[in-house]
């Protein structure tokens, strides 16, 4: 079990980051997810564990982290973070890109944000995403397409606004 969990930590961490939008909340969410997995993971193979882990992570995010969005947005401001790296320019550019993508992701409904993270970021199949989020495959397909369309629109506009 422990090894199975260790194997899925990188993908679960990216998923948590895509949901929360900042490192601190992502690692906090990841830790809570892993604690829950260790306490009450279902019997089954690694696929079952992975599916369950993503579902737990998404549910914890909805229950406990979205209300902290104000804090998340504050901590994602470059001037408010305390972990500036030596490569300051690169770090600030990364923060700006993160802010832009976060702002676009924040406009998506929960399921769409989870789906784009599972499929575009983690490369899950529609079947795997449907199982993890307990949705029909047809719904996965339509909501994912809406998420991509919306993000394409938001991300197209944002850089122009930033340069204005």
């Amino acid at each position: 079990m422990q090894q199975q969990i260790i194997r899925i930590v990188p993908q679960l961490r990216r998923f948590a980051f895509a949901l929360t939008g900042n490192h601190a909340d992502a690692d906090d969410l990841l830790q809570n997810t892993i604690e829950k997995l260790l306490r009450q993971a279902p019997e089954g193979d690694e696929q079952d564990l992975t599916k369950w882990a993503f579902r737990v992570c998404k549910n914890l995010w909805i229950d406990e982290y979205r209300s902290r969005k104000v804090r998340s947005q504050a901590t994602s401001q470059p001037e408010l973070t305390d972990n500036q790296t030596v490569d300051g320019e690169h770090a600030i550019q990364s923060e700006i890109a993160l802010n832009q993508v976060n702002q676009a992701m924040d406009k998506l409904p929960d399921d769409q944000r989870s789906l784009i993270a599972l499929i575009a970021l983690e490369g899950k199949s529609y079947k795997e995403a449907a199982a993890a989020l307990d949705l029909p495959i047809g719904t996965v397909m339509s909501r994912l397409a809406r998420a991509r369309s919306a993000l394409a629109e938001y991300l197209k506009v944002t850089p122009q606004e930033a340069n204005a």
């Binding site: 260790i6 980051f17 690692d27 993971a41 993508v101 970021l121 991509r148 369309s149 394409a152």
Partner: protein, 257 residues
């Protein structure tokens, strides 16, 4: 067929039937606007991946490492997920063989329940052992466990575990999923500057029924996963490496100091 965003989105993920995929390919070739729209949707994925993969470069907080390192009650009581005890239970014959030969990087092909074959490196009859090997080695060199990579032949390679063997070499266990959906698992160790495949494990059937650790393998029909676990058990000198340890070793070109 009307090309909607939903169709293009599913096309990007290769989740349409082949006839629909072909039709959209044709329309992309014929209609620049459709090609542009596909590019826009594809750019979304690129931005999402580039942005949220950044966290891979950040070390895991110590609290998380500690949590992952400590044995859990669940691990000790659940018997049909992964029996940790089975990782520690040596199978004498196989253990001895691997202990003696793994250091010389002998290649072992284990076909669960069908055969246990031993091949020297100079033989070429090991199924798929040399196919794409350079590419596989490059993935092992540049990736951490848990990340999946597509290879040129359409297969996907996912490193799953990393450990150090008794010869103080870094070894990695990884999974290869072929484009046809067949799954095999392998172990490779870093010897000098090169990765060398030490063992390959193939399921008994080719219909995706890869035996897992939860399989109730009998002595006459041992699951591929269980054989692999036994092999690792014979080779491993300490615990599996944590993500942070992997990151550190990767930066050191997988050389144990």
């Amino acid at each position: 067929m009307k090309i909607t965003d939903e169709k293009l989105s599913a096309f990007l993920d290769a989740e349409l039937a082949e006839n629909e995929m072909a039709e959209i390919r044709q329309q992309i070739a014929d209609d620049e606007q459709i090609a542009m729209r596909l590019a826009e949707l594809s750019m979304v994925d690129e931005q999402i991946r580039a942005t949220y993969s950044q966290i891979d470069d950040q070390p895991l907080p110590q609290g998380l490492n500690d949590l992952l390192a400590q044995p859990s009650a669940a691990t000790q009581t659940e018997s049909n997920v992964v029996e940790m005890a089975s990782w520690k239970k040596p199978v004498k014959q196989l253990s001895q063989f691997l202990s003696e030969h793994a250091a010389q990087a002998a290649s072992v092909a284990l076909v669960a329940g069908v055969m246990l074959g031993v091949f020297s490196q100079t033989q070429t009859s090991l199924p798929t052992a040399t196919d794409n090997w350079q590419q596989q080695a490059a993935v092992l060199e540049n990736s951490l466990s848990g990340d999946a990579f597509s290879l040129d032949d359409g297969s996907t390679l996912t490193p799953e575990l990393t450990f150090i063997n008794y010869s103080q070499q870094v070894c990695r266990q990884y999974k290869v999923s072929s484009s046809a959906g067949e799954i095999s698992k392998h172990i490779a160790c870093k010897s000098g500057d090169n990765w060398q495949k030490v063992a390959s494990f193939y399921p008994e059937t080719a219909n995706n029924e890869y035996q897992t650790a939860s399989g109730t393998a009998s002595s006459s029909n041992v699951g591929a996963e269980q054989l692999m676990q036994q092999s690792i058990d014979a080779m491993i000198s300490s615990d599996f490496l944590m993500p942070q340890q992997e990151q550190s070793l990767k930066q050191n070109k997988w050389q144990v100091k």
